[in-house]
Amino acid sequence: MSDGTSGIRPHTIIALVEDRPGVLNRIASKWRQRGFNIESLAVGHSEKPGLSRMTFVVDADTNAEQVVKQLDKLVDVVDIRDISHEDIVAREMALIKIRTDRGSRSQIIDIAELFHADVLDVEPDSIIIEATGDEQKINALVNLLKDYEIIELVRTGRVAMLRGPAVSHPHPEEEDQQYERYPGPHTW
């Protein structure tokens, strides 16, 4: 996972995909075969029945145009676009479990409050906090918590959408097209 603060920004790509078995397998297969370096992937139901929405982040060195074009060839990928250069809202969530004792607990809670993170679980010698924000914020929080013992860290990866009323994957009703089938016999 890149720290998101340095140099060139990774690409954020969002896709609307059929909610069918094997879809993830197909997409992952393309990534693997074409050597695309995927930093994070988040997937879940979309507002449309039968369709899931994915957000994935590919590192800056990857040819994002090829990622989009290759994945768009999959029948199960309904729509896909690179939104790296658009005005977007992007967030991820992290759950962090930290070892605590009487001394450190209140300090950790102070840090959590500073980051508007919620405390989900408090045990005598551990605490779980939930943080939501962009990668930089999560990274900063994790960095501060390194003074304590982080037992476990889990991050969802980025989810993103366009700002404003625009739909990320507009889907016009398909107009009738002339379908050119693989043609028959041959002449010059």
Binding site: G22, D72, Y179, E180, G184
Partner: protein
């Protein structure tokens, strides 16, 4: 509108075939696909099944059938090994954009995922080598799945689709339906070239002094034979065809220059290096065509016409990109192009062709493979289908044969599958029963699939097999000689007596060991009404030139080294071109 009737899953598959115009299946039966065989007699002779001896050959035969007939090819395999044996054939069709529908039987639903006998996750296995694949778990989904399979396979950039159906689903009954229209919201193969890009392409053509057309397989797939010819003649541009583009443009046409790339004509590779405009039509700038990519066509702007958006900008950056069916794009482009006098460019090309003949045939007593292939051309004048395997013989069949019959060259290009020549000849012959099919074989490749001689004998397909027998895995041996310090390892072959092999399979076997015998055996083969195998015992260490060494650029092509000093002759069509 939907039509409905109660049918078993296997019957539904058949009904789908009928609606898709399928009348030919190549396959092998087994436990899991038996229901598909059980219903075959019901549908005979509307649907004919040909029993092959190995599923790989079912896929290759269906692949070549599709290439020659212009319809989707269909193959069957059972679960497990039957399905995995199809994999090479499916991958071959994927690389060469061939519409192939593979229907496999799967173990019964209750056993899936439990490592049942002959279970293989063929849908998963074929994900990277199919345009789409589906495991159908519900009998009522079969009509939809089949309709979609044909739709996906035959539209846009064609490709293979696999439909895997468990045996119990094939036996269950359900309601058959057939829709007027396939609805796949994620499938969008249709696009038309942007008029601005077309106008720009026409402008680039008009401005260019040294243009070349590189015509690829897309021209054949979309049957843009007349359109590519019109572009070349109207604008006055020479045409180079990629390996798979051969027979997309008439081989003896004065504007035709032959093949480019690794074993392409020297003058072509130099012409591309010298050119100021490369017009790639239905081709994908494959590494065998471009040589070292960063030095490909350094002086040229590029016009790229292709149906697959992912190919545009993948290897080269075009100055104009015409996305869509190349036939439609060419029609529009042809309206705008104007003829321009490019005499200096044609003079340059003539000069290059005189100085670097590339495909002269040495005058020698030895039986040269080039001589054999050129003799088949002389005997047939190209009025036949030529099917090849992969290796030296394939390159010579591309170099020493002139294809005036549209779409008459059937070869494994992208995947480079040795052994393709035998089953592909079967598919070609079934698709063109009244034409002669010559299968030019390598001895190594032939032995990978020669069990199909039994199939050929059984059905009596009158295929003419010409084994270019150098007792070597010739192309690999050539690489060992040139790039591995002549360290010859695992390439010499101790071949069987191919004449006796043919006879054992009830096929006429002939042999030629000397030049004088060649014309006679070719003639005898052509007179013979049934299948024939000719064992041409050629020089064992002949190398294939010209050659771009691996990793080199096109302008670094090595031409035929010794030929300039040796008495030699040009094949007849080249003499015409040179005069």
């Amino acid at each position: 509108m939907e039509t409905k009737q109660e049918l078993t899953g296997a019957q539904m598959v058949m009904e789908a075939f009928i609606r898709e115009g399928v009348d030919t299946i190549f396959g092998v039966p087994g436990g899991a696909n038996l229901p598909l065989y059980d219903v075959l007699p019901e549908y005979y002779p509307r649907i004919k099944h040909y029993l092959v001896k190995h599923e790989q050959c079912a896929a290759h035969a269906a692949d070549a059938y599709a290439r020659v007939s212009g319809k989707a090819g269909v193959c069957y395999g059972t679960s497990g090994p039957g399905a995995t044996n199809l994999v090479t054939g499916i991958a071959n069709a994927y690389m060469d954009s061939i519409p192939l529908v593979a229907v496999t039987g799967q173990v019964i639903s209750a056993l899936i995922g439990r490592d049942g006998f002959q279970e293989a996750d063929i849908q998963g296995i074929t994900i990277p080598i199919t345009k789409h694949s589906e495991l159908v778990r519900d009998v009522n989904e079969i009509p939809r799945a089949m309709q979609e399979a044909f739709f996906i396979a035959t539209t846009g950039r064609p490709g293979p689709v696999l439909v895997d159906i468990p045996r119990d689903v094939l036996q269950q009954k359900g309601e058959f339906y057939w829709r007027d229209k396939v609805e796949l919201r994620g499938y969008k193969p249709f696009s038309q070239a942007d008029p601005n890009e077309i106008a720009r392409a026409a402008e680039l053509i008009e401005q260019s002094q040294r243009p070349v057309i590189i015509s690829g397989h897309g021209v054949i797939i979309s049957q843009a034979f007349a359109e590519i010819r019109e572009l070349a003649e109207k604008a006055g541009i020479p045409v180079i065809t990629t390996l798979l583009g051969i027979s997309g443009f008439p081989g003896t046409h004065p504007l035709y220059l032959g093949m480019p790339g690794m074993h392409g004509m020297y003058w072509n590779n130099l012409a591309i290096a010298e050119s100021d405009l490369v017009i790639g039509v239905g081709m994908r700038f494959d590494d065998r065509v471009t040589g070292r990519l960063k030095d490909f066509a350094p002086r040229a702007k590029i016009i790229h016409m292709d149906i697959d958006p992912a190919e545009i900008g993948k290897n080269v950056r075009p100055a104009a990109a015409l996305l869509g069916d190349v036939k439609a794009s060419l029609k529009e482009l042809n309206k705008l192009v104007v003829h321009k006098d490019r005499t200096p460019w044609f003079n340059w090309l003539e000069d290059m062709r005189r100085k670097h003949p590339s495909i002269v045939i040495r005058e020698t007593d030895e039986l040269l493979p080039q001589y054999v292939i050129n003799s088949i051309y002389e005997a047939t004048k190209g009025d036949c289908y030529v099917v090849t395997g992969v290796g030296q013989h394939q390159m010579w069949a591309a170099q020493y044969f002139w294809y005036d019959k549209p779409n008459s060259f059937v070869t494994s290009g992208g995947l480079g599958t040795m052994g393709f020549e035998v089953p592909a000849a079967m598919g070609a012959q079934v698709a063109a029963p009244n034409d002669t099919v010559w299968s030019i074989c390598g001895d190594g490749g032939f032995m990978m699939t020669m069990q199909e001689l039994a199939t050929i004998a059984e059905y009596g397909w009158p295929i003419k097999f010409a084994i270019i027998n150098n007792n070597n895995l010739g192309m690999v041996r050539q690489w060992q000689e040139l790039f591995y310090g002549n360290n010859i390892v695992a390439t010499p072959l101790k071949n069987p007596d191919f004449v006796k092999v043919a006879e054992a399979f009830h096929i006429l076997g002939l042999r030629a060991e000397r030049k004088e015998e060649v014309a006679a055996v070719i003639d005898q083969a052509m007179q013979h009404p049934g299948p024939v195998l000719i064992d041409f015992q050629v020089k064992h260490d002949e190398n294939c030139y010209p050659m771009v060494p691996p990793g080199a650029a096109l302008h670094e092509t090595i031409d035929q080294p010794a030929y300039a000093q040796t008495p030699a002759r040009l094949p007849a069509p080249m003499e015409v071109a040179a005069s």
